[in-house]
C-alpha cells in the first residue's frame, strides 16, 4: 500500500519537475497527434503519419545543415514538402475508407522508411548526425498555439462544417453541395503538412535522425495519442499525447512491469471509453450545469 502511495505521489510530483527536453518532446508529440486528428475531421483514418514526419524531418535537416537556410523557413518548406507528398498520395489513396485506408497509409509509411534506408544523400542506414539543436520551446509551443487556434476556428467555419458533414455522411454531404473529394484531400494534405513541420521540429530537437526513428512504432504511438485522448475533439489528441509521453517517463519506476501496466491502461481505456478519454460532451460546461440543475430540482 505504501508503495502504491509513493508511486502515485511520484507520478504527480514528476509533473512539476518536467525539464525543457521533456516539454519539447511532449509538445512535438502533441503536434503529431493533431496531424493525425486533421484527416480524422473528415473521418479518414491515416495510420502512416510517421512517413510524413520522416519526409519533413529529412527536408528540414538537409536545408539547415547543407544549405544553411534559416530554421523557420526550413520548417515551412519541410511542411509544404510533406503536404505536397500528402496531396499527391491522397489523390489515389483517399478513394478507400476505414481499415483499408489505414492499411494503405501504413504501407506508405513503410515504403518511406525503406526509401530513407537506401537513400544515399541522407546517409542511408547511418542517418544524419550533427544537426543544429535549433528547436526551442518557443518554436514548439508557438506552432502548437497557431495550430490550436486554427483548429478551434475551423470548427465554426464553413470549411469545418463541410468536414463535419463529410465525416458524418459522405453521400448526404455530396448532396448538400459539399466537394467531398476536395474536403478529404484538403484535410489529408493539411495533416501531412503538420506532420512535416513536426518532423522538422523533432529532427532539430533530437539532433540525430535515422530512417528507423520514423518506423511503424512511431506511427502506432501517434495513433495512440489520438485514440486514447479522444478523436472527436482537437484537445483529445493533446491530452493523449501528454498522458502517453509523460507516462512513458513517469512509469520508469515500474521498471520491468511498465509495458504490462501501459498495455492494461490502453485496453481498459478502450473498453470503457472507446471514443477516447475526451469526448464531445466531456468538457461541455453547459451540459454539466444542466445536469446539476436537474438534480437540484
Amino acid at each position: 500500500m505504501r508503495g502504491v502511495i509513493n508511486a502515485v505521489v511520484g507520478v504527480v510530483t514528476g509533473l512539476f519537475t518536467l525539464g525543457e527536453a521533456d516539454l519539447a518532446t511532449i509538445g512535438i508529440n502533441m503536434i503529431m497527434g493533431l496531424s493525425m486528428f486533421l484527416p480524422m475531421t473528415v473521418g479518414q483514418l491515416s495510420f502512416g503519419q510517421a512517413g510524413f514526419m520522416s519526409i519533413g524531418a529529412h527536408i528540414a535537416v538537409v536545408l539547415t545543415l547543407y544549405a544553411g537556410v534559416w530554421f523557420p523557413v526550413a520548417l515551412l518548406v519541410a511542411g509544404v514538402g510533406a503536404g505536397l507528398v500528402g496531396f499527391l498520395v491522397g489523390i489515389p489513396v483517399l478513394r478507400l475508407r476505414g481499415l483499408l485506408l489505414a492499411l494503405v497509409t501504413f504501407g506508405f509509411a513503410q515504403v518511406v522508411e525503406v526509401f530513407f534506408l537506401n537513400f544515399r544523400p541522407t546517409g542511408a542506414a547511418e542517418g544524419i548526425r550533427g544537426i543544429y539543436p535549433h528547436t526551442t520551446l518557443w518554436y514548439v509551443y508557438g506552432f502548437l498555439a497557431l495550430l490550436v487556434l486554427f483548429l478551434a476556428r475551423l470548427r465554426r467555419s464553413r470549411v469545418g462544417r463541410a468536414f463535419e458533414a463529410v465525416k458524418l455522411d459522405e453521400t448526404a454531404a455530396e448532396a448538400m453541395g459539399v466537394n467531398v473529394t476536395g474536403a478529404k484531400l484538403m484535410a489529408f494534405a493539411t495533416g501531412a503538412f503538420v506532420a512535416g513541420v513536426g518532423g522538422g521540429l523533432y529532427a532539430h530537437h533530437a539532433v540525430f535522425i535515422q530512417y528507423d526513428n520514423f518506423d511503424f512504432k512511431r506511427s502506432v504511438d501517434i495513433a495512440m495519442y489520438m485514440v486514447l485522448g479522444g478523436m472527436d475533439v482537437f484537445y483529445g489528441p493533446l491530452l493523449g499525447a501528454f498522458i502517453i509521453t509523460y507516462l512513458s517517463t513517469a512509469l520508469q519506476f515500474l521498471a520491468d512491469w511498465r509495458w504490462e501496466v501501459w498495455g492494461s491502461i490502453v485496453i481498459l481505456t478502450m473498453i470503457f471509453r472507446p471514443q477516447g478519454i475526451l469526448g464531445r460532451d466531456t468538457l461541455n460546461v453547459r451540459r454539466w450545469l444542466r445536469v446539476r440543475h436537474a438534480t437540484a430540482a
Binding site: G98, L99, N118
Partner: protein, 304 residues
C-alpha cells in the same frame, strides 16, 4: 546455375508455406469477426519460443525430441495464448466498437508480448540447437547435384499438411460450417443456433495454433528473436489482402507467390529493397484491387 535456382525455389516454398500459416490465421479471424488482429505475428513468435524452450529442456532431461512433437506442443501453447488474447483484448470491447478500437488494443497486446519475450528469453537472436539438426541430417535427400535437407522437407510438408487439414476443417466439418456462417452474417448465424462466442474462441484458438506452427517452422529455417513477430505479422497482413480478405485458399496461394517473390528478389535483385517490394505490392493491390487477387468474401470497404 540450375542447382541454385532449384535451391531458391525450395527456399521460396519454405518461406511461403510458413507465411501461409500466419496469413490463414489472419484471414480466419478477419473473416469470422471482421477484425484485424495485430498481435497475430507476436503469437507466432511466442509459439517459436515455446518450441525452443521445449527442445532445450528436453535435451537436458531426456534427449532430442522428434520435430513433430515440438511442432504440436508449440501449436497447443500458441492456441492457448491466442484464446487468452481474445478474452483480454477483443471480448470486453463488445460489438458496438469502432474499427480502430480493436486495432489499438491488439497493438497494446503485441507490445506486451514482445516485452514479455525479451524479459523471459532475452533480446538476442536464438536458434534451435545444432545437435537437433545433426540428428536429422541422416534423412537428407541427395538428388543428383543438389540436396534437400530433412528440415526443408519437414517445413514444406508440415505447412502443406496443416493447410490441407484446415481446408478440410473449414469446408467439411460442422464447426467449419458454423465458422463460415459467422463470417457470412453473425446475426443470422446466431438466429440459426450457432453459439457465436464459442465459435469466436475456437477461431482464435485454431488461427493462433497455426501461427505457432509457423513460428516453429520459421525458427527451424532461420532464427528466433522477440521482434520476429512484427515482420511475420506484416507479411501475414499483406498476404491476407493479396489473396482476398477472408478467403482461405486465396491466402495459401498468395503466400506461396509472396514467398517466391521475396526469395527471388533477395537472390536476383536488390536485397535492401525487399520490404519495399512487399509493401509496394500491398499498396497497389489495395488501390486497384481491394478485394485481392482471388476475391474477397467480405465487404470491408464500408468501414463503420
Amino acid at each position: 546455375m540450375l542447382a541454385t535456382f532449384i535451391q531458391q525455389v525450395i527456399n521460396g516454398l519454405m518461406l511461403g508455406g510458413s507465411y501461409a500459416l500466419v496469413a490463414i490465421g489472419y484471414t480466419l479471424i478477419f473473416g469470422v469477426l471482421n477484425l484485424l488482429h495485430l498481435a497475430h505475428g507476436e503469437v507466432a513468435m511466442i509459439g517459436s519460443y515455446i518450441g525452443l524452450t521445449l527442445v532445450l529442456t528436453a535435451m537436458s532431461q531426456v534427449g532430442v525430441l522428434p520435430v513433430w512433437v515440438v511442432l504440436i506442443v508449440a501449436m497447443i501453447g500458441a492456441g492457448i495464448v491466442g484464446i487468452v488474447v481474445e478474452l483480454i483484448a477483443f471480448r470486453p470491447l463488445g460489438r458496438k466498437q469502432l474499427h480502430i478500437t480493436p486495432l489499438i488494443t491488439t497493438i497494446a497486446v503485441a507490445f506486451v508480448l514482445q516485452e514479455a519475450a525479451v524479459k523471459l528469453f532475452g533480446s538476442e537472436q536464438r536458434s534451435f540447437p545444432v545437435k537437433m539438426f545433426e540428428q536429422l541430417e541422416a534423412h537428407d535427400l541427395q538428388l543428383g547435384g543438389f540436396r534437400i535437407t530433412y528440415v526443408q522437407m519437414f517445413i514444406i510438408g508440415a505447412s502443406l499438411v496443416l493447410m490441407g487439414g484446415l481446408y478440410f476443417f473449414v469446408e467439411k466439418t460442422q464447426m467449419g460450417m458454423a465458422m463460415r456462417a459467422c463470417a457470412e452474417n453473425t446475426t443470422t448465424a446466431r438466429l440459426l443456433g450457432v453459439n457465436v462466442h464459442w465459435i469466436t474462441v475456437w477461431t482464435f484458438g485454431i488461427a493462433s495454433a497455426l501461427a505457432g506452427a509457423a513460428g516453429v517452422l520459421i525458427g527451424l529455417a532461420y532464427n528466433i528473436t522477440p521482434l520476429m513477430g512484427v515482420n511475420l505479422g506484416l507479411k501475414g497482413l499483406t498476404i491476407m489482402l493479396f489473396g482476398g480478405s477472408g478467403n482461405v485458399v486465396g491466402a495459401m496461394v498468395a503466400a506461396l507467390i509472396l514467398g517466391m517473390i521475396e526469395t527471388m528478389s533477395v537472390a536476383y535483385l536488390v536485397p535492401a529493397w525487399k520490404d519495399g517490394f512487399a509493401f509496394g505490392i500491398l499498396i497497389l493491390i489495395l488501390l486497384y484491387k481491394p478485394t485481392g487477387l482471388f476475391g474477397s468474401r467480405l465487404q470491408i470497404e464500408a468501414g463503420r
